[in-house]
């Protein structure tokens, strides 16, 4: 076994995780220990660079300093890329369920993969989006789906999970498991997205 390690090996591992996450379209668990190790490496690198810079002649800096600097900026970039990539994935998940934040946060499987800061982030994100949505609240819901243009006004749905009484244009409907309803698509689209109802085609 070869035990030698280069600067930036750990950061490569971190970026590989992001790549895997993209390829499998799957959110991996927040890798706290790896992030911490890289931050530790950053501190060591900074110290090494400092010592070198102090000892060296300012007019004739040793090339080693450049290596340290490059390693530092690469590690930092990888760290930021990892976190930003995760945020992007979380935002995609958020929009995919039509902005139903409790739906994401109450899912213990997803919740376990998030760092506490990411949960905070999602909450703030949600409030920003909701504020923006309010601008259009009287005319339309900007959170509704934009993947398929509407073809019919009504849709036949099959109830997969109980979701209680919902206000629709035809009055309130009590959706109970295994029932079928013909309802206006705009009224219940968010329930399809969140998996309570299924479209019968």
């Amino acid at each position: 076994m070869n035990d030698t390690r280069q600067f930036g090996d750990l950061a490569t591992q971190l970026v590989t995780e992001s790549r895997r996450s993209t390829q499998t379209d799957n959110l991996l668990k927040y890798n706290d220990s790896l992030v911490r190790s890289i931050i530790r490496e950053q501190r060591d690198l900074e110290k090494a660079a400092q010592t070198l810079a102090i000892e060296a002649d300012p007019d004739n800096l040793p090339p080693a300093l450049l290596i340290y600097q490059t390693a530092i900026s690469r590690n930092k970039r990888c760290l930021l890329a990892y976190h930003t990539h995760r945020l992007d994935h979380l935002k995609d998940m958020y929009w995919a369920v039509g902005g139903a934040l409790p739906h994401i946060l109450s899912n213990s499987d997803i919740r376990g993969k998030l760092s506490p800061h990411e949960v905070d982030y999602l909450r703030q994100y949600n409030s920003t989006v909701m504020e923006f949505r309010g601008e259009f609240s009287y005319e339309l819901d900007i959170m509704a789906g934009i993947t398929n243009p509407p073809k019919d006004l009504l849709v036949l749905v099959h109830v997969v999970r109980d979701c209680g009484v919902i206000q629709t244009e035809q009055g309130s409907i009590d959706f109970q498991k295994d029932q079928r309803f013909m309802v206006r698509r705009a009224d219940i689209e968010h329930l399809i997205v969140q998996g309570y109802l299924e479209e019968v085609s």
Binding site: I39, S73, H83, D120
Partner: protein
Amino acid sequence: MDWDDEDALLATSSKGDALDFLNLDAPAPTETETPLSELIRHWMNERHAPTILAAQEQLLGLLLDHIRRQTDAVQALRGHPSTSEEEHIRIMLVQTEVERVKFIVRSYIRTRLYKIEKYARFITTDAEIQTRLTTAEKAYASSQAQHTDRHLHYSVLQSLPPAQAHLDDQPIFVPPMVTQPNKSRAVFAYALKECPPVRLPDGTTLTLEKDQLTLVPFYVVEHLVERGTAELV
């Protein structure tokens, strides 16, 4: 009951006074362009352009007003006892059309939101791009940039040595970390009418004839798209 208003949406061709002043600085490429087809053009441009295009606040406001009026009218008519069977069918058609218009409006708004999120940090530092956003969009961009900054600060930057704890440094050998729109991305531009000559990256000029389709970097045709003489497809 006033049916004209309902039918107007099906055609959306009510060329009222409100439209004429809209076309003052951006002459309509075709005489028959309706508010909806105008929005569809902006929607397609927005979806194809690498950067954020100018906000169409007046046009959007006009359509939103229209949606609201139609929805209210439909509500009133549906509940009215004297509405005949034939009229109910027409109401359904209007409702379907309203849903379709909503879809385009929604998609247009969301396309812009997506880009605003992507370039949030760049938007907060660039005055030129801010002129193309609405007030609500600007607020959205700055709070996005703030939240992302804060998240990165708490997760990474605060633990790094002070010398490294900035987001906007310009590291050597690598591009800057703030994502910027890439205006040299290739786009398909379709000339709606004859365009003034444009300069290509290799120094030659190109004159787009009416109905000509060409593949060029976005910045070459940016001003044509803005003026409405060309559209992205």
